[in-house]
């Protein structure tokens, strides 16, 4: 089941713009490794779900996956062969607005780095942007 909000105050949103880099949510907080976005994008709920499935299969129970983003933004579209006008379209999908630097997913409790790299590689194929692997910054 793809992620979506349980309840929203306003059904439809304007598109908005993505400016600048992430100033929060850009460090590995829960796991040992993170997958960091390098480009601005909208990541759809379906992309998050397919990444999750890909990682779960690659990890095969050897670690825990954390999803750090949530699709809060409703994206509308008009049906095909519809004339312009007559109001805003219906909600087509939900998306997470991602700035460069945002940590999208984390993996913890997996001691084999090759398994983590494999899982992140599988996930990166499900995402529309360039990403990089981030390791937890240990306390000095």
């Amino acid at each position: 089941m793809a992620l979506m909000p349980k309840r929203v105050r306003w059904r439809k949103q304007q598109r908005g713009t993505i400016k600048g880099n992430a100033t929060k949510g850009h460090t590995v907080a829960y796991g040992d490794y993170g997958l960091q976005a390098l480009e601005p994008t909208w990541i759809t709920a379906a992309q998050i779900e397919s990444s999750r499935v890909a990682a779960t299969r690659a990890l095969a129970g050897r670690g825990r996956l954390f999803i750090r983003i949530f699709p809060h933004k409703p994206v509308t579209s008009l049906p095909e062969e519809t004339r312009m006008g007559k109001g805003k379209g219906d909600i087509s999908y939900w998306a997470a607005v991602v700035k460069p630097g945002t940590v999208l997913f984390e993996i913890g409790g997996c001691s084999d780095e090759e398994v983590v790299k494999k899982a992140f590689n599988r996930m990166s194929h499900k995402l529309p942007i360039k990403v990089k692997l981030l390791r937890r910054k240990e306390a000095l």
Binding site: V53, R57, G108, E138, L140
Partner: protein, 200 residues
């Protein structure tokens, strides 16, 4: 924990624009506070601070105006992509002070229970300690190679150095080897579900 001599110089031009210029010139803006003394803005070089990161020590001796001040790295601010350091906070300490520090935990070996199908769950990667400055450990190493399925290591089992104790009273689990659960992925089940037989 090893003490490193860190050359610093006072920083008189404050503000984000001046800090940005400082970073472009290969410096790191820092600040020194604590000890009920005045707050001093400082700057150090990337190369000099690189040694602190390499040695993985938080204890430094700041060389400021021919006077040495012992200090602990309290906070490090990295840039968005985790490539370079933007700012460092130092707090003044004396060698006999008791301070609260986060010490990384390193797990050595593979549990023997893992070969029998057990799953290792590492609950914590660092531990908050109350330690005297001269006794702060660089890291805590735990040998987990003897752990069997069902075994766990708690905070109370740790061999901590003298003048060091856990900051929290709770006896948390650090690592445990548990029996594997049947891993049933609901999505996978859906994919492989057979089509219903045709009705006549």
């Amino acid at each position: 924990m090893k003490i490193i001599d860190l050359p610093v110089e006072p920083r008189d031009k404050l503000g984000s624009a001046n800090s940005r210029r400082l970073r472009l010139a290969g410096h790191i803006p820092c600040i020194l506070y604590g000890g009920k003394k005045e707050v001093v803005p400082l700057a150090t070089t990337v190369d000099a601070f690189g040694l602190v990161l390499k040695e993985r020590t938080a204890l430094v001796r700041l060389q400021l105006d021919e006077k040495a001040q012992t200090a602990l790295v309290r906070d490090l601010r990295w840039d968005t992509f985790g490539d370079y350091i933007q700012h460092v906070d130092f707090v003044r300490v004396e060698m006999t002070d008791e301070v609260r520090v986060n010490t990384p935990i390193r797990y050595l070996g593979t549990p023997k229970g893992a070969a029998l199908g057990g799953k290792t769950q590492q609950a914590k990667s660092d531990l908050e300690l109350l330690a005297r400055v001269d006794s702060i450990p660089t890291e805590i190493t735990i040998d987990i190679s003897d752990m069997d399925i069902g075994d766990s290591i708690h905070v109370s089992d740790l061999p901590l150095p003298e003048n060091c104790k856990p900051a929290r009273a709770t006896n948390e689990v650090l690592v445990q080897v548990v029996e594997p659960k049947l891993n049933i992925d609901p999505t996978e089940k859906d994919d492989e579900a057979e089509e219903p037989p045709p009705t006549e």
